[in-house]
Symmetry: C2
């Protein structure tokens, strides 16, 4: 196979970013769209230059025209359809969060393994070079031992009828955007958290409109973050070690087409950067840019490499499983007002 023939499962708004990336890539093409409504599927296919359309998800799963399916269904439907598609021999790129329970991650992973297909969480941030560069800086020891991390991903959801306000569908700020900091710090710290603490602001529909999380690590690192669907837009990440720090203005890279900047501060001497009120010149400050980000293009290109070239995933199913485990612990912490222990990771899944 030298080209991936893509099908889209659902007509969600997020599709447009993937469609654009598929159209731009010379190793991918859009061939089919499925919706529960045949008319809507047809109109959507025409609008987005897709030759085929299906009025049921089953038809997409059974189509011999399709190699890979992008799942952008509501969170609570990811597992069922990922399993069905894997069983039908399709490679699957599934929107984050992969699913809402560990049992479902295991079912999905097993289905992919048995069918010998690639199942990949659409953890777009992890396919961009910025993320792997940060992970490299942290593991190089340049910043010293990591003491603090902090991140924000906050926005305001205008539509009251949005599915992200529905508890039964895996709604809430933590599942929707909280998965970004959880996956990011897993990627850059290369260490699993051992404890979770949290507080949530619960909205009228019973979901968390705003969520403050706190993750503890065996090494002593402490991660604090806030995510929200009910406050003004804000995005940031900060990683602080004993010898230096990094600040990212766009850690999630979801600001399509805008450049991203990393700011690094390093101590000039190991003796320390002075006591408070002292000269900030004792810190060596540098910044670098990544140019206009298109993380969805990176994600599609990355998926092509997984399927067509047999590359290693930057975000394995074991990573995705740990993300689900951490988010569940955070939710339990918010519900109980207690620190919750995060269990050990599962043994690594086999990957095709």
């Amino acid at each position: 196979m030298s080209r991936l023939r893509w099908g889209l499962l659902s007509t969600a708004r997020i599709n447009e970013r993937i469609i654009d990336a598929v159209h731009r890539s010379d190793r991918s093409e859009l061939v089919a769209v499925a919706s529960r409504d045949a008319q809507r599927a047809k109109a959507y296919a025409e609008r987005h230059d897709s030759p085929s359309s299906y009025g049921t998800y089953e038809e997409l799963a059974n189509s011999s025209e399709v190699d890979a399916v992008y799942i952008s269904l509501p969170n609570h439907l990811h597992a069922e359809w990922a399993v069905r598609l894997c069983e039908a021999g399709k490679h699957v790129l599934c929107e984050k969060p992969l699913t809402l329970s560990l049992v479902n991650v295991d079912r999905m992973a097993q289905a992919a393994q048995e069918a010998g297909v690639v199942l990949q969480e659409a953890s777009a941030t992890r396919f961009h070079r910025q993320t792997s560069d940060i992970a490299q800086i942290v593991s190089s020891g340049r910043l010293g031992r990591i003491v603090f991390c902090h991140a924000t991903f906050e926005f305001t959801l205008p539509a009251v009828a949005d599915i992200r306000l529905n508890t039964d569908m895996g709604g809430g700020a933590m599942w929707d955007v909280g998965c970004y900091p959880v996956a990011f710090f897993q990627a850059v710290l290369r260490e699993n958290p051992i404890s979770a603490y949290a507080r949530a602001v619960i909205g009228p529909t019973g979901i968390d409109l705003a969520f403050s999380g706190f993750l503890g690590y065996e090494s002593g690192t402490a991660v604090q973050f806030t995510v929200s669907m009910a406050t003004p837009m804000a995005r940031s990440a900060r990683i602080v070690g004993e010898l230096g720090s990094l600040e990212l203005d766009q850690p999630w890279l979801t600001n399509m087409g805008a450049p991203t900047t990393v700011r690094q501060q390093l101590m000039r001497s190991a003796a320390g950067a002075g006591t408070f009120g002292d000269d900030p010149d004792q810190l060596e400050v540098s910044t670098w840019d990544y140019g206009p980000s298109d993380v969805y293009f990176d994600e599609v290109r990355g998926f092509e490499e997984l399927v067509l070239d047999g590359a290693q995933s930057p975000c394995t199913l074991s990573d995705s499983r740990m993300n689900v485990q951490v988010i569940m612990a955070l939710h339990e912490a918010a519900r109980t007002g207690r620190e919750v222990s995060i269990g050990s990771p599962s043994p690594a899944y086999g990957q095709p």
Copy 2:
């Protein structure tokens, strides 16, 4: 009395900021310095234009030349000397944290009340107009309900022999700089936290070199902060409401002589600032500056107003008591790995 005659109890480094402010003010003058070493006291007095010097703290307490004493002793000695000075009829400005236990706050407050003198915690940040302006914006409702707050106060302590590394003397990052965010959010939120959670990085001497705190409020507000004596210098504060946010580049105002900036983001419409990836123009951004800060001058001027004009304190002894209560709860949380309930505030103390 139209002028305050000041004595200094100790020759700590922080004195220099107060001495400078006293010299600049036309309602204050420096008249005496006390050290446990008469020679050192004398040399220090000469160097700082102080007419008198004493080789014991007792002599300063008993001096009829002195109206007010600035205590810059190590934290564990604050209570003993504040009580002695109040009993001797001196007004007292005592470095933060006021003391290390609630019993001692109560002893100090009682001594001040019985002697009819002013006892004031040197919570310098609270005497600057920036802090009261922020409190005013928050209480005006302009930002909507406050959802998140976050702050940092981090620096590197180069000297291993520093008293701030001594457990018995009330050392550690939380007592030394953690009192800034605790006092600040108390001032601007005008609500006492009800729960504390924390993790600390404990250094070889047994004190917290780095401390991550999390305070919960009845209203749903969540405050996260990090303080440190073992990472590069960083200072920030952020207050996020449903309708807008504020960012302060110098919330603690301890960067002598540098201007400070507040950045405000407000939503253009109550309908929301859009979903993620949307146009940042939907936020109305404004900034304002306070010009070069000199918060120690503000503190000295504020103390003059308390003593000479009978003004109300922006940080009462009840506020100081709540700060101690919150810091103790945070320490307990760090020690136990559990959320700790913060008790009710004490009834307000009488103020002279």
